[in-house]
Symmetry: C2
Subunit: 457 residues, 2 copies
């Protein structure tokens, strides 16, 4: 590929829609010329947005093997399935051979078991064994994220030997950031960044120049914990060991960037009652299946809240306006509760809330609830009095709002804390549960206070 | 610091609480021994959790200058302010001199303008000018994230010259990942990763071995776009240029990991009506100030919904049960709407939804709403009939649920799309707006259908 100086700056401003239109015209020479200078990430995006399967196959067929392999790791699930189905087992094996072990394992996970087996049998024994090993780790653990390719030397090696290892590996592996130093049992002793390797004098041993503070994880570490370590220690690469401390592989920061997105999306989805993350372009059938259980649960909880209203039928008969005002109390509590819940769940996800901090947070939330409740309670009471001239309804509305704000603070902070204490994920304390409580308490406090008030007025 | 082989594996399992207790005993030798082997990130966490200002100062005073500088970049705002106030201007200047330009600028932003000025005047002119330049960029742009330290060579340089540049820089700058190749106007021509530099043969020019596909951004690029490029192209380091394309600095992936967290938290906070991100341990006063406007808005919108109920006072008088059932319709719509909203807003944040996809998404959401609405409408209708034996109320409840699910799908997907079209942030379409619509339509459809039904029964 040839590039002009100007290209350097326009790398991120390619008009893929225009290229997609060109692909649809079907002129092979023009397509090849337009596609050749693209970055693999842009090629993947192009393949994802191409509307016709035929054009997708045409473009993919034009790519050199190494580029095709990188592109494959970035396709949307739908485009990936389509392209893999159009390739022979031999071609699939060619792709797997070009990939790092972690991407190879991910690729084989997206074809049928039989096909994966056939491809693995065609690979050299050591490569197949390595991929098969990776396939065994759960995808949301350090083992599921790591690749088996890394640069390592034995303690006592010279700096030249370490440079030689990097030279040998760098031909095949793109993202070597450092050299790991191990003992004869493969236990980690230290790490040498490439820039420190370049700094070192010829003839020195790696032991003399390595950094002995190595952060590492074991294969079974949860991906959320792995991401926390990357964030805390500003890592680019993290070694992974077996439970006994022997080196198995490494995780690179690009995979962690994806994990961070994934974890944030997971929290989001749980909080808003989606249960698990929903792909934007999922089929309606799958989306219904995912959302219906939460909505069903919500139907049950709102029916419970509504049954509270049934207790006060007489009150509503005598003051139909009460039916309107009670919904304000419930909705305000729900909103305040979700605010508290959001602060809590995100704080927990970032590792900032332990049980030790619980009391302080609870006091803060109750103080906030008092402040907001009194301000809005007075506002709502005054406006109701001015509009409807009913002092009893206005007073009851104001008091019920304060009560429900306090309930919202309690529920919004305690539910996630209790779930954490039960070792469950705090994010499943979705707004469904919080609003169920605030609805119920909102109706009860407003209608209860009103029915007491009506008895004495 | 001396380390035993075992240390390598326990880097992430230090009991900071135990060290904090030791610090409180006040034994200087024991404290120094416990603190010496800690990673700067752990030292910062220790300082953050120490309860007494005195012990914080003791521990910080023990740190060597380079370590102290790294620690300072990771302190909580409260601990940072406290420590900076206890340091003289000379000591502050010492810290600034140890830091990369981006961290130095951040540090100076957390002291008073006068103090920052005093420190800048004590620095060598070129260093001060560089930091002052960085202070001018808004913090959420590429300029605000970048550092001015990078390795660059002119085109035509040899590989040895590039290695020499890295050697010179690596003494002072920790995270050199690559060498940038520029022309005489400082325009970017290519990039050489350190591993490719190690691979290259002696005597080759950098032009022969560099990668010409350089992704870069201009100083004014928004941090969300910067993060998207890191994710898309799996970057560790991204060059930043002025609007004319001349190299100014680079952004490293560790800063992007923070941006991703920040952006996710921002979306979360907006969606749940917090407006902007709220620190977990914020003061109640500030928390009230932040949340009150949203709750006030919500009070207004729920009052509008409640006024819809006022239109049907007669209906509620004749069937008090209606007051209970209408809240179920409203709550169900609210939940379904927030589900749709979450999928949309996250999809947009990840750059997956453009206006081109809008029609497809809307159809999908309407299909999902039909499915869920019919399933839950039948369930709710049947149960209501069995419990209360009122066929009219049961039928109206079922139909109103389907109607409100459809409204929820429309509102949950259209509000963010319209905001995007207006070039506003889709996440401000917080659940406040969506639930206002679903409440109003829920009450209206249920009570409206019921009052029509009552006329004919």
């Amino acid at each position: 590929m040839s590039a002009q100086p100007g290209d350097a700056l326009s790398g991120n401003e390619i008009d893929l829609q225009q290229i997609a239109a060109l692909v649809d015209t079907g002129d092979p020479a023009a397509i090849a010329a337009a596609v050749a200078p693209l970055h693999p990430a842009d090629l993947a995006e192009l393949l994802n947005i191409l509307p016709r399967p035929e054009s997708r196959k045409t473009v993919f067929g034009l790519l050199p093997a190494t580029v095709a392999a990188t592109v494959v790791t970035r396709l949307s699930p739908a485009a990936l399935t389509e392209i893999l189905e159009s390739r022979s087992d031999d071609e699939l094996q060619g792709l797997v051979e070009e990939l790092d072990s972690d991407d190879a394992a991910d690729l084989l996970e997206s074809v049928s078991k039989e096909r994966a087996q056939a491809v693995l049998q065609g690979l050299p024994g050591s490569v197949a064994a390595r991929i098969q090993q990776l396939l065994k780790y759960p995808p949301d653990t350090a083992g599921g994220l790591m690749k088996s390719e890394y640069a390592a030397v034995l303690q006592g090696a010279t700096v030249e030997e370490a440079v030689e290892i990097v030279r040998t590996l760098a031909e095949a592996v793109a993202d070597i950031h450092n050299v790991l130093v191990v003992d004869h049992r493969f236990h980690l002793l230290g790490v040498l960044s490439l820039s420190r390797l370049i700094l070192a004098r010829a003839g020195e041993t790696v032991d003399a120049v390595m950094d002995r503070q190595v952060i590492s994880v074991t294969v079974d570490t949860d991906q959320e914990e792995v991401a926390r370590l990357f964030r805390k220690y500003d890592l680019v690469s993290l070694p992974v060991t077996d439970p006994r401390g022997a080196l198995l592989g490494r995780i690179t920061v690009d995979d962690i960037v994806e994990v961070l997105e994934e974890e944030a999306n997971e929290d989001f989805s749980k909080l808003s009652g989606l249960g698990q993350e929903e792909p934007l372009f999922d089929s309606p059938g799958r989306a219904i299946k995912r959302r219906l259980p939460w909505l069903g649960l919500n139907l049950f909880t709102t029916s419970l809240s509504a049954s509270v209203i049934g207790l006060f039928e007489g009150t509503i008969h005598s003051r139909a306006l009460a039916a309107a005002l009670m919904t304000i109390v419930a909705a305000q509590g729900g909103n305040a509760g979700v605010q508290t819940l959001t602060v809590m769940v995100r704080g927990m996800a970032m590792g900032k809330v332990g049980l030790a901090q619980a009391r302080g947070i609870l006091f803060k939330e109750l103080a906030v609830a008092c402040g907001n409740g009194i301000a809005l309670g007075i506002a709502a009471g005054v406006v109701t009095y001015l509009l409807h001239g009913e002092p009893l309804l206005a007073t009851v509305l104001g008091i019920a709002l304060v009560v429900n704000f306090l309930i919202a603070a309690l529920v919004g902070s305690l539910i996630p804390l209790i779930l954490r204490w039960l070792r469950a994920d705090p994010a499943i304390a979705s707004s469904v549960f919080v609003t169920a409580c605030t609805d119920m308490c909102g109706f009860f406090s407003f209608l209860g206070l009103l029915s007491i008030g009506l008895r004495y007025v």
